[in-house]
């Protein structure tokens, strides 16, 4: 079998599964060994193992297999669960990720050695084993199962506990158990099973199994009959409740609340036994059906579509001269085209979750390396963003988050001294509002120290001392984004490397966005990034210069003006425009582009552009239109061209360059 054609989807899906495992590890550490978490981890690990084995990547399959073993032991001995085990699991995930990376880069597993991590995983299994005292199921169902029964009893219901025994010659006990689960399904909810299907697969010696059913007790006989009809099931009997609950005694009654049961309680709100049966391969929750489509294919589609839009515009022109029927068809085509366009735009949108999912792990590691203590909270994971914008934002967010952990939050002792909770909070949120997506990184740390920022800026010669005295806080905070500025008292590995916030601002602005910072002394700092919903389509003003049309993104335009002689002043022989309470430098675009000024007789057509707090008056021959344009890259060959961020194709098929206003300052 030629498997190479499946490599891409193997890589993508394995990446997803590793990310899921990563998340679940953190959940495991946070919430303890809960059934749901472990079941989900099993599913992800199982899929990973199956896929890598099928692809012939045995090092990966082997490591995943041992990881499953470790998970199995955690599940079977939940009371022995030590959070430190999570470190080992995470290390295993890292090793798998590195393994996957090598497969992607080199196509082989050559030279991969997992022996160190395999030893650590084996150690997990052994310590758990040696601590284990109550492993055998021969003496009746284990504590966890009894706890579950006790729990049901406390909720006021009386479960029917059934013991079944497998025939000694039965080789596929897991399958039989599945059949039992199916058979009893129609009678009522199955609240607990011991051992569950996966455990049974691993344990060939098990001879009995227990089920706790929530059924009317008069159905008991019919239920038992149904079970006994399954071949290789020798007996099925009802077990007295007292024998289970009293045997487990007082201790479990008390502990039941705190401990998490290890036996998988199959029937939770949304998981029925039938789902459980399918779980190992498909995941327990019902998901939307999705298709994996390479991004390049969507981009190609988008290209074709924008040509369609152009053709449609031409058709509209022709139809004006044509008869009624032609106009009608043209209108219909126009409607269909625009809904197609909406559809493709929608396809390019992805929930920010795919960007955010790697952060919890990063923040966890940061706590350890930095000696900070904090909760990391993420909200708005479902907020959708253009994929290209999102890809570009990853590094900037990493920087802001590290910054918040390193500089934003005070060390735990300092927090306690200041009467704040020892544990800080770092919040990453996303939300959409009015055509923009907002990303916020907030900490509840000390806030920005105005004086320290000022002193540092003065020391670095970024501002002069006298002029800075009357600055507003916002102006001072703005200094943080100045190039080469870092107030960290000690430069650490994590942040404060001087490439800091100015790089973040540069990235955000290159995407047509904006970043600002809000801070309250003693209460914390919030960085707010505002981004356009999409980069592919943007509103723009079309201006004419000579015979060519240029587009200026509306986001950079403040207003349009016609300048007459009395509006113009001159400073050092450079023309300036008196605008509001200040003056704005005048840039003649014809002059700037072709050394052919377009300033002739007054009035001059001017577009007042803004970039942050700075303004420019661009003089052009004519202002043509304002409309939505499709942003197309200029490509690598022209990549370094200054003053233009891309190009678009106009209704008549000509190309118009998109002016990058920032480059004109």
């Amino acid at each position: 079998m030629d498997i190479s054609q499946y490599l891409d989807s193997f890589l993508a899906e394995s990446e997803d599964n590793l990310a899921t495992l990563d998340d679940l590890c953190l959940a495991l550490e946070r919430d303890g060994a809960s059934d749901d978490t472990l079941a989900a981890m099993f599913r992800a690990a199982h899929t990973l193992k199956g896929m890598s084995a099928t692809m012939g990547f045995m090092a990966m399959a082997d490591l995943t297999h041992h990881m499953e073993d470790a998970l199995g032991h955690i599940r079977n001995h939940p009371t022995e669960f030590q959070p430190s085990v999570v470190d080992t699991l995470l290390a295993a995930i890292d090793a798998l990720t590195a393994n996957l990376d090598q497969i992607r880069d080199r196509g082989s597993e050559e030279g991969i050695d997992h022996s160190a991590i395999l030893q650590r995983l084996a150690a997990v299994v052994e310590t758990q084993n040696s601590r284990s005292v109550e492993g055998s199921s021969e003496a009746g169902p284990p504590v966890a199962f009894r706890d579950r029964v006790a729990e049901i009893l406390r909720s006021g219901r009386e479960p029917l506990v059934i013991q079944i025994a497998f025939a000694p010659e039965c080789t596929m006990k897991a399958v039989r158990l599945l059949m039992v689960e199916r058979a009893v399904e129609s009678f009522g909810e199955c609240a607990a099973v011991y051992p569950d299907v996966q455990a049974l697969e691993a344990d060939a010696d098990a001879s009995t199994a227990y089920l706790a059913m929530l059924v009317a007790h008069q159905d008991a006989d019919a239920l038992l009959t149904a079970i006994r009809e399954i071949s290789e099931i020798t007996t099925a009997v009802v077990v007295e409740l007292e024998s289970i609950v009293s045997a487990s005694g007082e201790r479990e009654m008390n502990q039941a609340r705190q401990e998490t049961a290890a036996t998988v309680a199959v029937a939770t709100a949304n998981e029925t036994p039938a789902h459980h049966a399918a779980a190992p391969s498909t995941g327990g929750k019902v998901r939307d059906q999705t298709l994996r489509v390479p991004v390049s294919r969507i981009d190609e589609f988008m290209n074709v579509l924008s040509e369609l839009v152009i053709a449609k515009t031409r058709l509209e022109l022709l139809a004006q001269r044509g008869d009624h029927a032609l106009r009608e068809v043209t209108e219909q085509i126009a409607r269909l085209t625009s809904s197609l366009q909406d559809g493709v735009m929608q396809m390019r949108m992805m929930p920010v979750e795919s960007l955010f999912q790697r952060f919890p792990r990063m923040m966890r590691d940061l706590q350890k390396t930095l000696g900070r203590e904090f909760e990391f909270v993420m909200t708005g994971l479902e907020t959708e963003m253009d994929r290209t914008v999102m890809d570009e934002m990853g590094e900037a967010l990493v920087h802001l988050l590290r910054n918040a952990a390193d500089h934003g939050l005070e060390p735990p002792e300092v927090r306690e001294r200041n009467g704040k909770p020892r544990k800080g909070t770092i919040r990453l949120s996303a939300y959409a509002s009015g055509g923009h997506v907002y990303l916020e990184v907030a900490d509840d740390g000390a806030g920005i120290d105005r004086d320290r920022v000022l002193n540092s800026a003065i020391g670095k010669g970024l501002v002069d001392e006298r002029s800075a005295q009357n600055w507003t806080d916002a102006q001072v905070y703005d200094l943080l984004f100045a190039s080469g500025f870092s107030t960290a008292e000690k430069v650490s590995d994590i942040s404060g490397r001087g490439v800091g916030l100015d790089a973040v601002r540069g990235k955000v602005e290159s995407l047509g966005g904006d970043i600002r910072v809000e801070s309250v002394p003693g209460q914390g700092t919030t960085f707010v990034i505002e981004l356009p919903l999409t980069l592919a389509i943007l509103p723009a003003m079309l201006v004419q210069l000579d015979n060519y049309i240029y587009a200026i993104p509306t986001g950079s335009v403040e207003e349009v003006a016609r300048l007459s002689a009395e509006d113009i002043d001159s400073i050092q022989e450079q023309p300036v425009y008196r605008y509001r309470d200040g003056v704005v430098p005048i840039v003649d675009l014809g002059d700037r582009f072709f050394d052919a000024p377009c300033r002739g007789d007054y009035p001059w057509n001017a577009v007042i552009c803004k970039e942050g707090k700075r303004r420019l008056a661009l003089i052009v021959d004519d202002i043509v239109d304002e409309l939505e344009i499709v942003n197309k890259p200029l490509g690598r060959y022209l990549g370094q061209v200054e003053m233009f961020s891309g190009a678009t194709i106009l209704g008549d098929g000509r190309v118009a360059l998109i002016i990058d206003v920032r480059q004109l300052f």
């Binding site: 040509e307 072709f594 200029l634 490509g635 690598r636 060959y637 022209l638 061209v641 000509r654």
Partner: protein, 156 residues
């Protein structure tokens, strides 16, 4: 080993571009100039929805940009180099020929204004010389960056 070349004419000279790298041959179309870039970069065109840069091959290979006689014969040869599409304006496109590697001789140090590194070699075609271009070199973006630097220094 034999290779096929698209034969392009500029002035009296013939230049060859490997057929494998030629995507299409287009009639002249509206070119939108890109201000403040290298002089041989003529601008960008709309190639079926893709914004594609266009260079004047004549200027790029160092021929004088003399008056073109028959502008109706002019073509834009679209080539793909390193996943990058670039159009080259030529006086005309003549033919596609097969050239055996044995017919190719090393280029003389300077052909026209073109340094030998930009050439794959020179082949004898009937009575005429066919200059085989090394498109990867001619259209390398690194090269363009360097040229841009030089131009900057010259013009300040």
């Amino acid at each position: 080993m034999a290779q096929q070349y698209v034969v392009m004419k500029m002035g009296k000279e013939l230049y060859g571009a490997p057929v494998m790298q030629v995507v299409s041959v287009e009639r002249m179309m509206d070119i939108t100039p890109v201000p403040r870039t290298l002089s041989f970069i003529k601008g960008v065109v709309n190639l079926r929805g893709t914004v594609t840069p266009v260079i004047d091959l004549r200027e790029r290979v160092g021929l004088s940009a003399t008056e073109r006689l028959d502008s109706d014969a002019m073509r834009i040869v679209i080539v793909e180099v390193d996943t990058m599409l670039v159009g080259m304006i030529v006086d005309s496109v003549e033919d596609v020929v097969t050239v055996d590697e044995s017919q190719v001789s090393a280029p003389p140090e300077v052909v026209g204004g073109l340094r030998a590194v930009y050439l794959h070699g020179v082949a004898q075609l009937d009575e005429r010389l066919l200059v085989l271009l090394n498109l990867n070199r001619i259209l390398s973006d690194v090269e363009v960056d360097q040229l841009r630097e030089v131009e900057k220094r010259v013009h300040g």
